[in-house]
């Protein structure tokens, strides 16, 4: 799928841990402006794919390329972890929320703007002297943070420590924090986990508005099918580290392999189904 409008292209990605193949020869693409969902049963290797994309793991094999609107292409598997966010503009959230819990909500959002602020502070020197350029930059940074506080409904909690927020608010703050890095691609690891149905709906709206207003493409891992089927344009299904389906939500939903993987049918049935659809799963 070498389409020119792909923002992220994962090609032949393989990740081995010792003898265990967590992800095997996976290829897929996310189109620019799409919300792509990566789904699959527990242990299917979804988070491993995320960790490869965002630089926490170095893939054993394969290529992950990210294309900017300007045409510049970044090969993510070659970049150091922090450069993936700063240079290639890929941001992520974590399955088990990782906020700076002892810092305030606003501080969390300012830490996310570290690199531009660092430059504005003349790598600390100008900031130490209190030069006006830095003050202006910091004011803008607070304004950007305020924008995201507004969008995520956290304005009233701006001065509270992040660790004091209720669970759903922490999830939203993590998304806001990721968005403060101005990403081209936002990777969300189970953003709806632990949310109640109302919060889930709000999350859908938030993600749709991010896509509409910021033009950020989104790649998300999710178990909550109401989120996946509702907002995603494209679904990739993993099982045992291998892609078993790839398409629009409606297609994927009716795919027998997906149903088999999720419902855990008898082995013979899987083989029957596989024979039917003609796939070969590596032993």
């Amino acid at each position: 799928m070498a389409s020119s409008d792909a923002v992220l292209e994962v090609e032949h990605l393989t990740m081995r841990f010792g003898g265990l193949v967590a992800v095997g020869d996976l290829s897929f693409a996310c189109r620019r402006g799409d919300i792509t969902a990566l789904i699959g049963p527990n242990g299917a290797g979804k988070t491993t794919v995320f960790n490869c994309i965002t630089g926490f793991y170095r893939p054993t094999e394969g290529m992950i390329s990210l294309r900017h609107p300007s045409g510049a292409t970044h090969l993510l598997e070659r970049l150091p972890g922090h450069a993936i966010t700063w240079r290639a503009k890929v941001a992520r959230t974590f399955q088990n929320i990782r906020l700076f819990s002892g810092m305030t909500v606003l501080e969390n959002l300012l830490v996310a703007q570290h690199n531009p602020l660092m430059i504005a502070s003349g790598f600390t020197l100008a900031g130490l002297l209190g030069l006006p350029g830095f003050r202006r930059a910091e004011k803008e940074a607070v304004e950007k943070a305020a924008l995201w506080l507004e969008k995520t409904g956290l304005v009233d909690r701006a001065d509270d420590p992040a660790g004091d927020l209720p669970y759903g608010a922490q999830r939203r703050l993590e998304i806001a924090r990721a968005m403060c890095t101005d990403p081209i691609l936002l990777c969300l690891d189970e953003p709806a986990a632990g949310l109640n149905p109302r919060e889930s709906l709000e999350l859908n709206d938030l993600l749709l508005s991010i896509r509409a207003e910021q033009g950020t493409s989104i790649l998300l891992i999710e178990h909550d099918m109401s989120v996946v089927m509702e907002i995603s344009d494209h679904v990739v299904v993993l099982d045992y580290g291998v892609k078993i389906a790839d398409g629009v939500p409606a297609e994927v939903r009716s795919d027998p392999r997906v149903i088999a993987a999720y419902l855990g049918v008898e082995d013979e049935e899987v083989e029957e189904v596989e024979a039917e659809v003609g796939v070969e799963i590596p032993a």
């Binding site: 922090h82 700063w86 810092m103 305030t104 570290h114 690199n115 420590p161």
Partner: protein, 483 residues
């Protein structure tokens, strides 16, 4: 077990093991028999601990071999004291100490309630100008109280010592308190600063004012050099490796006799000058130039204000840095290193700058130490110094500038008080030297303070930026760093 162990589980498992002795746990009020029993047990334990080490002192006998000298009185006094102490704890605080049958447990994690937060916060706001004022006026106050410069020498020297540790504490606070990197070898940078000044001034005749920044730069350089290998390490391992670095530097200073003078150290290091004017009695001296009567105390007072200014600079720079992106990145690093990486923060550079800037202040303090003493030797830079500085930072409450200052006063001035307890000689006999017990009590105090306030004196965190309303953050939410 208390903290990780849900309290609802504790009685059940204990009851199973102690044969259903739950009634004791449930009973409120003073259980006299139980307390007495615990106190007797504690005294017996003390006896067991004291038996060989305290009871029998080994001394060189007349024949050259060791002989044993029994000291029953000492042991009995100790056991009696332990008995009374345990009894007092039992009677005052309910039966929950050592050997308590009740086994009621306090949850160790106490989430501080809001009033405590607020008071801690106000304390910091009020204390800062108060401390600075007191520090500035200190020599004058001592002068007035003691009625003369020469008479106040001891107190001003003590002030200098305290301020040196305040500065070291603030320097280490950048590394440990802000960036959450546990450094047990901070004294190495103090040593680098001291030796830099000593060697540069004795070999090349450079003045203190040129050497001071050089010593800071050299120490920062060493901070980066020693920081590189430990970037990946966390927690206790980082502490131990930095301890090893501190010891390696000390051992090299001892053994590299050609350069460092070895264990004998470096003496006749040039004294500090008043920006080039020496504090001497002659024509060119400070007193003559300013039309004052010569007094050797002028140099000491100048040293006092010098270290005060150096310490305040450290403090101001740290406060500034906390509000800059680099300071926020340090704190974020302490909170969650992985999240930092996911936000595009170069954690390597961030850690190295913390090491470098912390080390730089240690280097400044070191060159001040060298010019003040006029003599340095490796023994001034042993592990105990590192432990003291770290204890100051942790006792102060990690990241709290005021807390560190208070802790430095307590840790440095406390042991000094012992010197003045000569009256104890009347109680314990002529051979008694309270100063011998200085380190012993220091060690005990470290343990006691950790048990009393594991999060330090001031455990609230002040936010570095405010959106609408300034609120302080309870220490229980603030993480202590991974490495």
């Amino acid at each position: 077990m208390s903290a990780v162990h849900p309290t609802s589980v504790a009685p059940t498992s204990d009851a199973a093991l102690t044969g259903g002795d739950v009634s004791a746990a449930g009973r409120r009020g003073v259980d006299l028999a139980g307390t007495l029993r615990s106190a007797v047990m504690a005294a017996l334990l003390m006896f067991g601990l004291a038996v060989p080490i305290l009871l029998l002192r080994t001394e060189q006998g007349p024949g050259g071999g060791l002989i044993l000298i029994p000291r029953w009185n000492l042991v009995l006094v100790c056991c009696g004291l332990v008995f009374l102490a345990r009894l007092a704890i039992g009677l005052l605080g309910g039966d929950q100490g050592l050997f308590s049958r009740a086994r009621t447990r306090k949850a160790t994690i106490t989430v501080s309630a809001d009033p405590a937060k607020q008071s801690g916060f106000r304390f910091a706001a009020v204390a800062t100008p108060l401390f600075v004022g007191a520090a500035v006026a200190f020599p004058l106050i001592v002068y007035l109280l003691k009625g003369g410069l020469a008479e106040s020498r001891y107190w001003i020297d003590l002030g200098i010592l305290i301020l040196t540790y305040v500065m070291l504490g603030w320097g280490l606070n950048i590394v440990v308190g802000l960036a959450g990197l546990l450094d047990l070898g901070y004294v190495a940078f103090y040593a680098v600063g001291a030796y830099s000044y000593a060697l540069l001034s004795t070999t090349f005749g450079l003045s203190f004012w040129i050497c001071l920044p050089l010593a800071g730069i050299l120490a920062a350089f060493w901070g980066i050099l020693l920081g590189f290998p430990v970037l990946r390490l966390r927690g206790d391992y980082l502490a131990i490796v930095t301890l090893a670095f501190g010891e390696i530097i000390r051992l090299v200073l001892i053994n590299w006799v050609d350069v460092t003078g070895g264990g004998a150290g470096i003496s006749s290091i040039p004294r500090v000058t008043f920006f080039g004017i020496p504090f001497t009695a002659g024509e060119e001296g400070f007193a003559a130039r300013f039309g004052l009567e010569f007094n050797p105390m002028q140099r000491v007072v100048f040293l006092y204000y010098l270290i005060l200014v150096l310490a305040l600079i450290t403090n101001l720079v740290t406060i500034r840095l906390r509000r800059l992106p680099i300071g926020r990145a340090w704190e974020a690093l302490r909170e969650d290193e992985i999240a930092c990486r996911s936000l595009g923060i170069n954690t390597t550079n961030t850690k190295l700058t913390a090491f470098a800037i912390g080390a730089m202040f240690g280097g400044f303090a070191g060159s001040f130490f060298a010019t003040r003493q006029g003599f340095i030797s490796p023994e001034s830079f042993n592990f105990l110094e590192s432990a003291t500085i770290l204890a100051i930072v942790v006792l102060g409450g990690m990241g709290s500038q005021v807390g560190v200052a208070v802790a430095a006063i307590a840790m440095v001035a406390g042991p000094e008080l012992l010197r003045n307890l000569g009256f104890l000689r009347a109680v314990f006999g002529e051979g008694f030297d309270p100063n011998e017990y200085r380190l012993l009590l220091f060690g005990l105090a470290m343990v006691a303070m950790m048990v009393w306030r594991p999060r330090g004196l001031i455990s609230v965190r002040e936010p570095s930026v405010v959106f609408r309303e300034r609120k302080s953050i309870s220490g229980s939410l603030v993480k202590e760093g991974h490495g």
